[in-house]
């Protein structure tokens, strides 16, 4: 909620400033916004549906079962794939990761899960490709996935 209020606050200030300075330009702001919104709405709704489907099919309990509490390379791999494919809000993801850690999962597994979860977006990739181009999106997600492993391994060593 704070997030949304902050956004509305910033934008309202911007619009007031814009309106005082130049009415015509402010109308253009709305025109640009409307055009961009209508353009990306179909894919945004599509992504939303996919996110809903994945979360519906893979609820936190299932994820926690799949990652498991064993220390092993396999659970790290599974965690990285689940992290890359799912899109879980942080208020659900971090408690889940915390409980897995306490249940015996390794730091490496948990950190690869958290890092891929936030940095690699498999379901948002079609949208990212559409807006930012195929090469950019593939490189960004692919390299983030690799970096997530390096980060996780270093964290496993240190912590």
């Amino acid at each position: 909620m704070t997030t949304i209020l902050t956004m509305y606050g910033i934008v309202s200030l911007g619009l007031i400033f814009s309106f005082v300075k130049d009415k015509n330009k402010t109308m253009k702001v709305f025109k640009v916004a409307k055009k961009a919104l209508l353009n990306s709405l179909p894919s945004l709704l599509g992504v939303l549906g996919i996110v809903g489907l994945i979360l519906g099919l893979l609820p936190p309990e299932t994820i926690s079962k799949l990652i498991g509490s064993e220390a092993g390379f396999l659970s790290t791999i599974i965690a990285s794939i689940l992290g890359a494919v799912t899109l879980i809000p942080s208020l659900i993801a971090f408690p889940l990761a915390g409980s897995l850690l306490r249940a015996g999962a390794t730091i490496t597994t948990i950190s690869v899960f958290v890092t891929t979860l936030v940095m690699v977006g498999f379901v948002t990739m079609p949208l990212e490709i559409k807006i930012l181009g195929k090469k950019f999106a593939l490189l960004r997600n692919g390299l983030s996935f690799i970096i997530a492993f390096i980060i996780a391994i270093i964290m496993g060593f240190i912590l």
């Binding site: 704070t2 934008v11 702001v29 971090f94």
Partner: protein, 195 residues
């Protein structure tokens, strides 16, 4: 088709996302596929279907509230911030200042990653460098302040601090690397030609 494309690219409304020339059917294709997927899930397992719809509805409400200010903000950037400004703040020559600004902007509480994509496209069109935008997106995704607070609470300070530091280093590497790879082949990112 050509006509439409041209009037969409008038220099005045030098806008992102020129996907308008796609026919409407194609535009909604992904939606149709997703709806079909829902139907299939419902047929196979009604309980999971209900769960999926519930989650989607929750996300929809959030998105519905957050999209208007985001797109108006993009409009404000588009109309009011001159290209030279963005270029000097976030462009190729912006150096460490540009990197810090990208990180600073992205750590603010601003919502889910998918709304950062159109924002990034706007900034790229206005002259921001690829390196800075990779860092911007990565920070937005992985290092947002409200998210870090939740992380500290559940995974501890040291876990969070270490992940923060390593992710930052990782993002710098990815940023420079992607910029290098994309510059080598083509400069324009394919933004003007929809995929």
């Amino acid at each position: 088709m050509n006509n439409q494309e041209m009037n969409y690219q008038t220099p005045k409304s030098d806008n992102m996302m020129q996907n308008k020339k796609k026919n409407p059917l194609k535009k909604w294709l992904s939606m149709v596929v997703v709806v079909l997927a829902f139907v299939i899930v419902f047929i196979i397992d009604k309980e999971k279907g209900v769960a999926s719809v519930t989650v989607t509805w929750d996300y929809f409400k959030e998105m519905f509230l957050i999209l208007p200010p985001v797109f108006i903000l993009m409009g404000l950037i588009e109309v009011w911030l001159p290209k030279e400004k963005i270029q000097s703040w976030l462009g190729n020559e912006s150096g460490i200042k540009g990197i810090l600004l990208s990180i600073g902007l992205a750590t603010l509480p601003t919502g889910p990653l998918y709304i950062a994509f159109p924002m990034t496209a706007t900034l790229l069109k206005k002259g921001a460098s690829i390196r800075n935008m990779v860092i911007f997106l990565g920070t937005w995704a992985a290092l947002k302040i409200p998210q870090l607070m939740v992380e500290i609470k559940f995974l501890g300070f040291w876990f969070t601090a270490l992940r923060f530091g390593l992710t930052l280093i990782g993002l710098l590497i990815i940023g420079y690397f992607i910029e290098y790879l994309m510059k080598k082949e083509d400069n324009n990112l394919g933004l003007s030609k929809p995929v």
